[in-house]
Every structure is written in C-alpha cells, then in structure tokens.
C-alpha cells in the first residue's frame, strides 16, 4: 500500500494534489470526463471525441464529389489542403442542403428531435425550438452560397450550378467520370430549381 501511495505521490497528479487541491480536482474531472465521454461515445464540449476515421471506409467502384460551377462555366477549384476552412464552408452545408433536398423536415437531426427527444423530455422542448433548422433558413441558403462564392472568388457571381459527379479510377490511377447530375442550379440567389438532368 505504502509503495502505491509513494508512486501516486510522485506522479503528476500527486504533485498537483500537493501544490493545489482545487486545480487537482479540476484536472481530474477533465481527464476523467474526456475518457468517460469517449467511452460513452457522446461529445459535450470540451470533452471531445477523438474517433475520426475509426469507421471502415469501404472501397467502392465509384467515388462521388460535388463540383461547384459559377458564372459561365468557371469551376471552383480549392486545390490546396490548407484551403480546408473554405472547403468546409462550401461542402459541409452544401452536402447537407443537397442531402436534405432543400426540405427542413427531411433533416435527420430535426426528425430525431421531433420524434424522440422532445417526446422524451417535454419539459425542455421549448428550449430546443431554435436548435433545428427552419424552412426559411434552408431557403436562404442559395443566396448565402452565391455571396460566399463571390467573396472567395473576388467577383460578383450571379449563377451557381452544383453537379454531383461519380468517378472511378482506371488501372493507371487516373479518374474516369462515370456520371454527372445537376443537384442545384440557381440564378441571382432565387429559389433554385432542382432538376435531376443527367448529362
């Protein structure tokens, strides 16, 4: 017992305990919380989950990506990895808009909140009203996208088209386009038509 007490006393947390007990409790709580929430697989900031790329990414015949075209065929090409903050803002919300088909009621989080969470916790339902997207917010998205493309490209942009492309890789490793679908098209920020034309 004395041996373990000595080891613990000499450890980092043991030294913190000797110097500053409140700091010891804060740090112990933080480290326990970090491990505990990872075990629970639930993130509550600042207890972050560190499970990036922990799920299998199955190898498939084709790989999809979204191609954003603005004003007369200019392709938005963010070619550097350090462009990632910009890429995140283009393709995160865009993917979500396309996935939800511009319909707020199709959002998986909204569906979960309405069908499960608010029924389970009716007392707190009022506090969660602002946490799900409204149709109005989704309708404003094309206009925001146009303005962000204008900011990033430094030119006023009127027309934006988004294609969902599917690509396979040939034996030499070169990409070969398999299909291209228009998933979003709008002019001057007006509510988009969503044709599903196959090119």
């Amino acid at each position: 017992m004395a041996f373990f007490t000595k080891i613990l006393g000499q450890s980092w947390l043991g030294r913190v305990y000797k110097v500053d007990k409140p700091l010891f409790f804060i740090l112990t709580l933080f480290f326990s919380g970090t491990v505990g929430f990872n075990l629970l697989k639930l993130q509550i900031t600042p207890f972050f989950l560190w499970g990036m790329y922990s799920l299998k990414v199955p190898e498939t015949a084709t790989y999809p990506y979204l191609e954003l075209i603005y004003d007369h065929g200019h392709v938005l090409n963010l070619r550097h990895t350090w462009n990632e903050p910009q890429k995140t803002y283009f393709y995160g919300p865009l993917g979500r808009y396309v996935y939800d088909k511009a319909d707020a009621s199709a959002d998986p989080f909204t569906i979960y909140m309405e069908t499960v969470w608010r029924k389970k916790h009716p007392r707190f339902a009022g506090l969660t009203q602002g946490l799900t997207m409204t149709q109005n917010e989704l309708d404003r998205y094309p206009s925001w996208l146009r303005s962000y493309v204008s900011t990033v490209t430094g030119t006023p942009v009127d027309e934006v088209t988004v294609l969902q492309k599917r690509v396979s890789f040939d034996a030499s490793g070169a990409p070969v386009e398999v299909s291209s679908d228009t998933v979003l098209h709008f002019i001057d920020g007006r509510r988009p038509a969503r044709p599903r034309d196959r090119h």
Binding site: Y63, T88, G130, M133
Partner: protein
C-alpha cells in the same frame, strides 16, 4: 519552468495561434468573411445547444459590423497576449474569443471539426497563476496530448473497426482526393498520387503505420524519457494525413508544443525573449 520560459512558451503558443488565424482570415474563414450563413447544426452536444440558445452566434453572423469588430478583438487580444505574455487577463480574453470563434465556425459549418479542438484547449493552462502551478498545468497539456492520440488509436482498434480493414488507406485516399484528382489533371501532385494508386499497398501500409504511431503515444503517459522522439509523432501523423487524406490537422499541432523541453524554450530566448512589459522606472531618490 521559470518566468522567462513561461514568457517564451506563451509567445510561441499565441504566435502559432495568430499564424493559423491569419491563414483563416486570408481564407475568408473568420467570422467577418463568412457572410450570414443560414444552415447550422448542433448535434447532441449540449454545450452547442446552450451556445445556440444564447443567440450570440446568430447575432454575430447577422450583423456585419459585429463580425468585423469580433475579428478585430480576436486578433487584437491575440497580439496583446503575445506582447504581454504574463498578463493573464489578456490571455483570458483571447481564450474566450477563440472559443466563441471556434464554436460559431463549427456551428455554421454544420460539422464538428476535430482539428479545431486545440483552439479551445491550448490556452487553458496559461490562465493558471504562479509559475509552479502553471508548470503543473502545462504538464497536464502534455499528458492530454498523449491521451488524445491514444484515444484516437483505441477508437480505430477497439471501439471502431477501421484498423482491421486492409483497404482503409486506399479507400480513404480515393474518397478524400477524388475532387483534387478530377479537377487538377497534369499536376506533379496528381502524377505522384496516381503512382500511389498504382501501388495501393503503400497507402494501406501507411494508414496502418499512422494508427500504430498514434498507439505509440501511450508511452508518453508513463515516462518523459522519450519526449524528444514522441514530439515527432503528431508531426508525422498530421504531415502524412495532410498529403494522403487531404485533411488539415496541422492546426492540432499547437498541442504538440507541450512536448517542448525547458532547454528547447531557452534556445528560443533570442527570438521570443524580449521584455514582457516595460520595467517600471525606479522612483528618484529625494535628497534629505
């Protein structure tokens, strides 16, 4: 850690943060550059629920002047914390603004971005008063850095299954780089990437190597003897994933600074060791 080393460390950390924030500013990815995004997500993170319910992020994004003022304050507090590294109030302001920025960015980016977690965590030890207590808190950041990589390893090997999928390297590579390869034919990087696609076992082996390197960081939880080697673990991991997974986890490397030894900090004295604050002039003695 003595006061001079604390000064150098604070400047190193705030300097790195300012560099990364400047990169984001140039990328139109600070609040003033984002316009008024309308889509958002909070997921099941209760902190984000409270943050969104507070109305602050919506107010910041809907008022252009507020977003510009926020950016000015964010950079201003960072610069002041760099110049006056012993002033904990300035560091507190910078830390709070950094948290607000990170959460607002992630909220409207509609996804949680792992590499930005470092922005929320890194300044916390600098809020602790007293060199002895600060040294212990900073040592905690080193343990947290090791723990993060160990948890990432456990997620891939115990709680998840990606480590046991032998094609994970090439499938991640194709998924993440499909747009680059399609939009940039004929570049040197495309030629290199296509060579790797012709030798997929290298990508798969590299992915397993990165996971094992994350696991090796467990050593740091038990001894500091190998810190001079462990410091390179995150650098290699994020350097490799930068090129082969097209992810910018370089931002998380601010946590890696916690591996720097006191000797390494002393070596930076000529660059970052300028006085923390002008010394108060001595009172002139009054002749009796």
């Amino acid at each position: 850690m003595n006061e001079r080393q604390r000064i150098i460390l604070t400047r190193l950390v705030t300097g790195c943060l300012l560099f990364l924030l400047t990169l984001r500013l140039l990328e139109h990815a600070t609040l003033s550059g984002l316009g008024s995004p309308s889509l958002f997500t909070v997921d099941l993170d209760l902190t984000y629920w409270l943050f969104k319910d507070s109305g602050l992020p919506d107010w910041l994004m809907q008022h252009r002047a507020a977003a510009v003022a926020f950016d000015v304050c964010l950079f201003g507090s960072g610069v002041l914390a760099f110049v006056f590294p012993l002033n904990r109030k300035l560091i507190l302001v910078f830390a709070v603004l950094l948290v607000v920025y990170t959460m607002t960015f992630e909220l409207f980016a509609t996804e949680h971005i792992g590499q930005m977690d470092g922005y929320i965590l890194i300044l916390l030890p600098f809020l602790v008063a007293g060199n002895r207590r600060f040294t212990l808190a900073w040592e905690g950041m080193r343990y947290l850095t090791c723990l993060i990589y160990v948890l990432a390893f456990l997620w891939k090997t115990v709680w998840g299954n990606s480590f046991y999928y032998l094609h994970q390297g090439v499938s991640t590579f194709k998924s993440n780089l499909v747009d680059y390869l399609s939009l940039n034919p004929g570049t040197t990087m495309t030629a290199i990437y296509e060579w790797f696609l012709r030798h997929p076992w290298l990508l798969n082996a590299g992915e397993k190597g990165v996971v094992l390197l994350e696991g090796i960081m467990v050593v740091g939880l038990f001894t500091k003897k190998y810190d001079r080697y462990l410091i390179w673990g995150p650098v290699i991991i994020h350097g490799v994933t930068y090129f082969f997974s097209d992810v910018f986890f370089i931002e998380l490397l601010v946590l890696d600074l916690s591996f720097l030894s006191a000797t390494a900090l002393d070596r930076l004295t000529p660059i970052l060791g300028f006085p923390a604050a002008p010394k108060k002039p001595k009172k002139a003695s009054i002749p009796h």
